[in-house]
């Protein structure tokens, strides 16, 4: 039988599911007082009027006043109207939605970490520094890149660091290199990060196989090329088998090879980045290393570099001296800082725990099974007639891309409609319409966290939908039916721009 899912749905009034907090509580009055000025302290210090001039005092605060049980229920209702990795398969391509081991979750809540001030003397935080230092070493071991910073708050933040390092390096060398090469199929953040660092982006079109077109690459490389940003396997899930030649071309031109680690889950423990000729890379701690995605963040984007670029990393670096650990701020060539303090430590310790849990063999096994799962699903979908536009004659890595354009052409059913209907079948849809070089794309990344039964259930759901598209396309076009809410009107949202409760109320009243 085909699996079904009915999401929880709270509806407390006409046309509204869960009301907003502003509708639940009286505005400008009430709330839970968690701390207050003691009478004695007030007597000692005096009246507020004596501290803050009246015209500078806060007037009404437009927050709602609720009680603790009301807040608890409200956000519990909202949680129930959301889908997470522990709910079921969540195959967002290039996002690596793997399961977070709960022992790993627990590490951030250690009192000694939670209460640690970022400027606390180093001798009082040796434990934290040791954990972070060990994490750097483990990331070095996986990538072959000797030096790491843990400061960047996310993958794109790491890309910015990488691009700035390349920029600073050439400024120091006195070379004017203002171009970064990026394959057309790359993650959108690559283009944006390169541009933020002041580079002109030069796009490399794909070959017929979906990999970097070597002819186009050769033609694009010039004395202006500072480097290339690449993800390998690429966003089609295809390993760039020419990677050594790509690296050689760049290196012989004096350019650097940057690796976008979003897809590292395909090759962790199988290929070292340094062996591919990578000079610098960011790793997504919240993807590959099991820290959860937090509904969009916080993540962490560790950046690793070869020795030649180590002096350019952001300050401070975590270093070891004998048996003690300290923060090194003395990096005259550093690009500077990209955020305050030392990074999203509560996220980073999870990667430490995850790698300790996996060990060397577990790291390799994780990627191996992630790739096995992806190949299994891809073949099953191909056997059902789904179209894999690129690389179908070779193994894929941890993800792959199918095109649903046939369904659009023949039955008027788009990838979007497939996605909506998948939700009714208890799975989170894959990344849609990416990469742009594939029409009606579904970019699917089953991680190592899904069982064979889950893989089969997903594939069966796809089969059911393909069948439905032929028989009863309207059924797909009206999906989803079992989620908390039916299809959302995005263009209405972009016209109205109700970006806060305040704006909504004003426009509704006018």
């Amino acid at each position: 039988m085909n699996r079904r899912y009915v999401q929880a749905k709270w509806q407390l009034s006409e046309g509204v599911l869960e009301p907003t907090v502003f509708e639940l509580g009286e505005i400008e009055k009430g709330g839970v007082v968690v701390a207050k000025v003691e009478d004695e302290l007030r007597r000692e210090v005096g009246e507020l009027e004596d501290l803050i001039p009246r015209d500078l005092q806060r007037g009404a605060i437009g927050l709602p006043g609720l009680t603790e049980p009301e807040v608890a229920r409200h956000y519990s209702h909202l949680a129930q109207m959301n889908y997470g990795v522990d709910s079921g398969p969540y195959w967002l391509g290039s996002c690596t939605m793997k399961y977070t081991p709960k022992v790993v979750m627990k590490l951030e809540s250690h009192q000694s970490l939670r209460n640690a001030h970022p400027y606390a003397p180093e001798e009082t935080v040796q434990g934290i520094l040791e954990v972070l230092y060990e994490l750097q070493k483990m990331l070095s071991s996986i990538t072959g890149l000797p030096k790491f910073t843990l400061q960047p708050a996310a993958g794109a933040h790491g890309e910015l660091v990488g691009a700035l390092i390349i920029r600073k390096r050439f400024l120091d060398l006195g070379e004017r290199r203002d171009e970064i090469l990026i394959p057309e199929s790359a993650h959108g953040s690559n283009f944006a990060s390169a541009a933020m660092a002041g580079f002109k982006v030069v796009r490399i079109p794909p070959s017929e196989e979906g990999t970097v077109d070597m002819g186009a690459l050769r033609a694009a490389i010039s004395e202006r090329t500072a480097g290339m940003m690449i993800t390998n396997p690429n966003t089609l899930g295809i390993f760039e088998s020419d990677i050594l030649e790509i690296a050689d071309l760049l290196h012989s031109n004096g350019s650097y090879l940057y690796y976008d680690g979003a897809n590292l889950n395909a090759i962790m423990g199988w290929v070292r980045l340094s062996d591919m000729g990578v000079d610098l890379a960011h790793l997504n701690i919240h993807k590959t290393f099991s820290a959860p995605h937090g509904g969009g963040g916080p993540g962490a984007g560790a950046v690793g570099v070869i020795e030649e670029l180590a002096d350019y990393l952001p300050v401070p670096l975590i270093v070891r001296e004998g048996d003690t650990y300290r923060l090194d701020y003395d990096l005259p060539k550093s690009i500077g800082r990209v955020r305050m303090f030392h990074g999203n430590i509560g996220v980073l310790v999870k990667a430490w725990g995850y790698l300790k849990l996996l060990g060397s063999e577990g790291v390799r096994l994780s990627s191996g099974i992630a790739v096995l799962n992806a190949n299994y699903v891809r073949k099953r979908l191909m056997d059902m007639g789904f179209e894999v536009p690129y690389g179908k004659d070779r193994p894929c890595k941890h993800e792959f891309v199918i095109s649903l354009s046939k369904f659009r052409r023949e039955y008027g059913v788009r990838a979007l409609d497939f996605a909506k209907a998948l939700m009714d079948r208890g799975v989170h849809p894959p990344t849609m319409y990416f990469p742009p070089i594939v029409q009606e794309a579904f970019m699917m990344e089953p991680t190592e966290s899904d069982s064979l039964e889950e893989l089969d259930a997903y594939v069966n759901a796809m089969g059911e939908l393909a069948d439905l598209a032929r028989r009863d396309p309207d059924d797909l076009l009206s999906a989803p039916k079992n989620t908390a809410i039916g299809r959302i009107d995005d263009s209405f949202a972009n016209k109205r721009l109700w970006l806060s409760w305040k704006i909504y109320k004003e426009r509704e009243d006018s």
Binding site: Y83, N115, R487
Partner: protein, 460 residues
Amino acid sequence: MPMPAEGLIPNASDPIISEMLNYLGINKLEDLFSDVPGSILMNEPTEIGKPLTQSEVEALYNEKLEKNVSVKLSFMGGGLADHYVPPLVDELVTNQEFYSSYTPYQPEISQGILQALFEYQSLMAELLGMDVVNASLYDYASALGEAGRFSVRVTKRKKILLASTTHPERKAVLKTYMEPLDVQIVEINREAGGEISLDELSANMDEDVGMVYLETPNFFGVVERKIEDAADMVHSKEALLVVGTDPLLAGIVKPPGELGADVVIGEGQHLGGYMSYGGPSLGIFAVKKSFRHIRQLPGRLIGMTKTVDKMYRGYTMVLQTREQHIRQEEATSNITTNSSLMAVRAAIYLALLGPDGIRSVAEKILYNTEYLKRKLGSLPCFNIQFKGSLHFKEIPVVSEVSWSEVNSWLLRNGILGAFQVSKLFPDVDPTGKLGLLSTTEKHRLADLDLLLGLMREVCS
């Protein structure tokens, strides 16, 4: 015995692997890597070590963290302080539906996180007196970097005036973010009282200036009392006034949005987050409802909308055409993963505390600050810098006793003492005498007296 990793990977058992390989018509996992040049395929495993069991991981971690020196009270300032986190906040964000989901690209199955983020945007807008708050940036400093880039996009001008009293790490981040844009940054000095010098601001305001930035409270804990005057000056030259703030200050002092700020940024970690050695953090970015500004916002935005059949109110991401996954190098920012769960923390915190709770926390911090200022200032070896000004949370203390002596004495008594400014920022305080203490709502009067007693002792 299966290794611990196998307990995390459902298909890792030999029979299942064989069945799947068989279906694929291959013999071993290695065959799936046949497209990787043989010369780079690893033969020996990485050097991460043997896998540990869950209990071993926890034990090892606890053993390492025991090397930290635990304190019972933290009074250290410098940008983060030890706030009280209501247990309800922790409880609710441990819902896996919140923490394990990702960016809500599919709104119908993600209404929960979308509404929670919409509420964050709305609650924060109310608190700061602004209209539109994005769904989060990384932290306060990167929000300043984004504000600088925002000002260039909006005004097309390449000069920024920056209050010299800005936190040095935020200055550094702004510099990093602006360097590729070739933007000139000019520092505006402070008056004797620690607030920005309006005379100097006025003297430097010209038509090239796109953005003026000041913080309240600033690095020295001083609350700016003349933001409205600064706003008039800035607006007379059609530049943007960007104000950095501690959102808790708005519980008791008129918020920047009511004082003429065009953009408000700040650190939201104070609202229901832990220090955690610096992060995860929460970058706040707020603007007024000028369409021109909203179009140029960095980061994600959640909007309220309706279902296609117009029967229900719902939520979805809006103005995605500003973002990197669509606009690539033309995007307003490269930000992708942000700090959503921290924004959900802040939303729950603000919803729980409400107007009375927020006011009460802010008042407690203000009273604690004032109490410590007066008592410390009356001790013979300590002076309060900018004594006559209004301070909030952070207290700049000039000590005649070496800070290392004071701090080790406090540490021996279970207290984390001042942040000695010269340790990291010798330019800001070449004397070595300046320390930043902070106090929060977590500190009871008895805690303040304990600190004062110890500091009195070190003085005698």
